[in-house]
């Protein structure tokens, strides 16, 4: 993750109307409105004069969520030892609304000295205050935090959408409620650790260094901070440099909750600051969510130390659809699997494995469904796919999609209008994809689905597991015993059967193989933040 840019020339092509702007990068689009196949129930009556099979051109009135609920400050500081402070060299960086390319605020950029100061504050708080606090008192602070997040939920949702580009209906209905629920769930564990580890005494590790990504900024913060605090640790958290604002709003929640100073510290900054944080000899625990490439660097940084570490890294999930699946439900699950959060999801179902006998009707239904997806203003309550998080990420998606075309896969994109400004990308579907194609191997982290086929369950397993990743997988079939046999053979930490992209604080989440190790969520999530001793 790099510093976000502000302004500057827009490099990003718009496939429908601007294909000529960047002919070298962006392939031409195979669809146009005359080829759209609408929902079967939505065909226009003959009297409308739209022609047979034409989609009803539904117009949606704008339904913007009000920004009034949130006050975006011009300037945000670091949150260290309970206080908002400038960085030691006074440096700031801009965070941008990816839907408008406008600067939202200047954010203090932590220096290594600031990080060290935060670690010292966390260490002091852990030894003198938080670690000594009875579990039932820690619990009440965490319950308070959960409640305040619920009370200020719309403020968080709007700010999250402005800073990250995700649709308001997702930040409002998924990110923020799940983040609050995460604090709620772990609050109750704080005074019950002896029941989570029978026969053992669970001790806190000390200071946890936590580095989180930009795709679910507040939710990842909750995944990291809630179990750490419940177990008696204090934290220094580095949010992603493109999405620091909800973490800094969370600092305000900590103040409102009267959380003792130093228990939570937040140090926005670039990747080097994250490396400085995890490399410190004064942290006892490292937790990272992000790409496998950066995860390996962080793993290297703790090699040879006694630090505990958990890594939640990339994925290239297979979403396997058998011929007996309920196809309409599967289509919804596939769409949710890859277009949820613009596909910027580590566990996204980016490889659709369709049984050969149904691949044609399935792809037709998918194309129909894609034509109804609304791409645009993330703050509009009707928007399904918002803005890509940053220019850098949009360039990466664009490059990989161009590689997919160059390697011979067939591209389909619905003909939807994209906003004039902002980082947007059409929902994209590739057919005729080979396992060797980059779009079938590399994590794209964008709204790009690759369709592959299989004939037998064995072949599906072979293809699904043919990746260094192992974060998640999906199985669609009406046959229960087949679900369970696929579940057993899939090398993935989460398997969604007849559903996809579901999350819950009680449900452990994490990867096999190069998707990382350790689990977040559930009782298992506590294990990453404790040292077990004999009774």
């Amino acid at each position: 993750m790099r510093e976000s840019d502000t302004g500057g020339a827009r490099l990003i092509p718009r496939p429908a109307t601007e294909a000529t702007v960047n002919p070298g990068i962006m392939p031409s689009v195979t669809s146009d409105t005359t080829k759209l196949r609408p929902w079967s129930g939505d065909r226009a009556p003959a009297g409308w004069g739209l022609g047979d099979g034409q989609a009803i051109p539904w117009e949606y009135a704008p339904a913007p969520e009000s920004r009034d609920v949130v006050t975006v400050k011009d300037r945000y500081g670091l949150f260290i030892d309970g206080r908002e402070i400038q960085s030691s060299d006074k440096a700031v960086f801009a965070t941008v609304n990816p839907a408008t390319e406008e600067k939202l605020a200047d954010v203090a950029r932590a220096t290594p000295a600031d990080v060290d100061r935060a670690i010292r504050a966390a260490g002091r708080a852990q030894k003198k205050v938080w670690g000594a606090l009875p579990g039932r008192e820690r619990a009440k602070y965490l319950f308070r935090i959960a409640r305040i997040m619920q009370e200020r939920s719309r403020e968080f949702a709007v700010l999250e959408t402005m800073d990250s580009g995700k649709p308001i209906k997702e930040s409002r209905d998924v990110d923020v409620p799940l983040a609050a629920a995460h604090f709620w769930y772990y609050a109750g564990w704080a005074d019950k650790l002896e029941y989570a580890f029978p026969g053992r005494v669970a001790r806190p590790l000390g200071v946890a260094a936590q580095v989180i990504p930009w795709n679910f900024p507040l939710l990842m913060l909750a995944w990291k901070i809630a179990p750490a605090l419940a177990a008696g640790n204090c934290v220094v958290l580095k949010p992603a440099s493109t999405t620091p604002l909800t973490a800094l709003l969370f600092a305000d929640v900590c103040r409102q909750a009267d959380l003792p100073p130093g228990v939570v510290n937040i140090v926005p900054g670039p990747a080097e600051i994250g490396m400085h944080l995890v490399s410190s000899p004064n942290v006892q625990k490292v937790a990272f969510t992000g790409s496998t490439g950066v995860g390996k660097l962080i793993h290297r940084a703790v090699a040879g130390t006694d630090k505990a570490i958990t890594l939640e890294l990339g994925g290239k999930a297979a979403n396997i659809v058998f011929e007996d699946a309920a196809l309409d439900q599967a289509v919804e699950g596939i769409v949710n699997g890859i277009y949820f959060n613009q596909g910027e999801v580590c566990c996204a179902g980016s490889r659709l494995l369709a049984q050969e006998s149904i691949v044609e009707p399935l792809v037709e239904k998918l194309k129909d469904r894609l034509s109804t997806i609304r791409v645009g203003d993330p703050l509009d309550k009707n928007t399904d796919v918002g803005a890509i998080n940053s220019r850098q990420q949009l360039e990466k998606i664009t490059e990989l999609v161009a590689a997919g075309v160059a390697e011979g896969a067939d591209l389909y994109q619905p003909a939807c209008d994209l906003p004039e400004r902002g980082y947007f990308f059409r929902p994209t579907l590739f057919t005729n994809v080979a396992q060797s194609h980059r779009i079938a191997k590399e994590e794209i982290f964008g709204p790009v689905l690759s369709v592959l086929t299989f004939r037998t369950p064995d072949e599906a397993i072979e293809k699904a597991n043919n990746t260094p990743y192992g974060l998640s997988a999906g199985v669609w079939t009406e046959k229960g015993s087949r679900i369970l046999s696929m579940v057993r053979r899939l090398k993935a930490g989460v398997v969604w059967a007849n559903t996809f992209n579901r999350f819950d604080p009680t449900s452990p989440f994490g990867g096999y193989k190069e998707s990382g190790f350790g689990r977040e969520g559930g009782m298992h999530g506590l294990h990453a933040y404790v040292r077990l001793e004999d009774r």
């Binding site: 040879g304 059967a497 007849n498 559903t499 449900s507």
Partner: protein
């Protein structure tokens, strides 16, 4: 007619060739190399194989091939198979006692205690086979209409750099935890005290542990541990027996494919660890270190 009866000439002992254990067979190292192993008092005892990188790679291939079959056994079956290892060790108890005493320089009663504990440790871990999923697995009450559960599965191929000091009890204590849940293992034995480990492979070969599930290489740790750590088809590595000075480099090599790295607890030294202390040396956490948690969601509805 003078005849030389048996009593007249001393019997010449049939010595054992100490070999590697790969894929259920006992090959000598492909490298043709050996090194002299001495007793604790310095007396030369035998030539052990000085295993090579190629031997190690063969062992990893054998382990990978054995993985699915071992993992697919029922938990109860794996428990019985590992319990049988204890049964067969019991039958060779005197041999193990003599070898451990020689290798570690222990008095007979102490060596006996060590071997007894090694046998009992198999029994303790074998009993976990059909229980660990109930202790570590969970049914998760998610806030929506889904049935959601989490089950442990074996990580895959585990490399073990065995304790250097405790040649049998330490080895068994590190080997049993990954085995009991269905992992396959490649062991780099104690470099200076490898012989009890080789005798253990003879027990494994005659028990019902399938060939390839345990593979044992003797040789120089400095030469072989980096190869094991860097191997792309090894999923986890136990660095207990790596010298402190070498640990960072070994762990760095292990990060390339995001290996699970299993370490001694902070502050614990290999030489001082008390393997006879059941509370310290029998830990369900050590089983959990080689498990992946798989969470499954399914909607509840009609």
């Amino acid at each position: 007619m003078a005849s030389h009866g048996p009593a007249a000439s001393p019997r010449i002992e049939v010595r054992k060739t100490y070999k590697l254990y790969i894929g259920g067979a006992f090959p000598r190292t492909e490298s043709g190399r050996s090194y002299l192993v001495s007793a604790a008092d310095g007396t030369p005892v035998a030539n052990a194989c000085r295993g090579s990188r190629k031997d190690l790679r063969d062992a990893v291939r054998a382990a990978r091939a054995a993985c699915p079959g071992w993992a697919d056994r029922t938990a109860m079956n794996r428990g019985q198979v590992l319990y049988r290892v204890a049964e067969l060790m019991e039958g060779r108890r005197d041999q193990f006692v003599a070898e451990v005493a020689q290798a570690e320089g222990l008095r007979a009663d102490r060596a006996r205690a060590v071997v007894d504990r090694a046998i009992d440790r198999w029994v303790w871990y074998a009993g976990w086979a059909d229980k660990i999923a109930q202790v570590l697995g969970s049914s998760n009450p998610v806030a929506a209409d889904y049935f959601n559960f989490t089950i442990p599965e074996p990580t895959g191929v585990v490399g073990i750099v065995a304790p250097e000091t405790s040649s049998l009890l330490g080895l068994v204590s590190r080997l049993a935890p990954p085995l009991v849940t269905g992992n396959a293992v490649v062991v780099l034995t104690s470099e200076t005290r490898p012989l009890p480990a080789i005798t253990l492979t003879e027990v494994l070969a005659t028990s019902d542990v399938p060939g390839g599930v345990v593979n044992v290489i003797t040789g120089r740790k400095a030469e072989l541990a980096p190869v094991l750590a860097a191997h792309g088809d090894v999923d986890a590595i136990d660095v207990w027996g790596v010298a402190d000075a070498a640990r960072r480099d070994i762990e760095l090599a292990a990060t390339d494919n995001v290996k699970r790295i299993v370490r001694r607890p902070a502050g614990v030294t290999d030489a001082r660890f008390d393997w006879l202390d059941d509370r310290a040396a029998e830990r369900p956490e050590w089983i959990a270190a080689y498990l992946e948690m798989k969470t499954v969601w399914h909607p509840i509805g009609v």
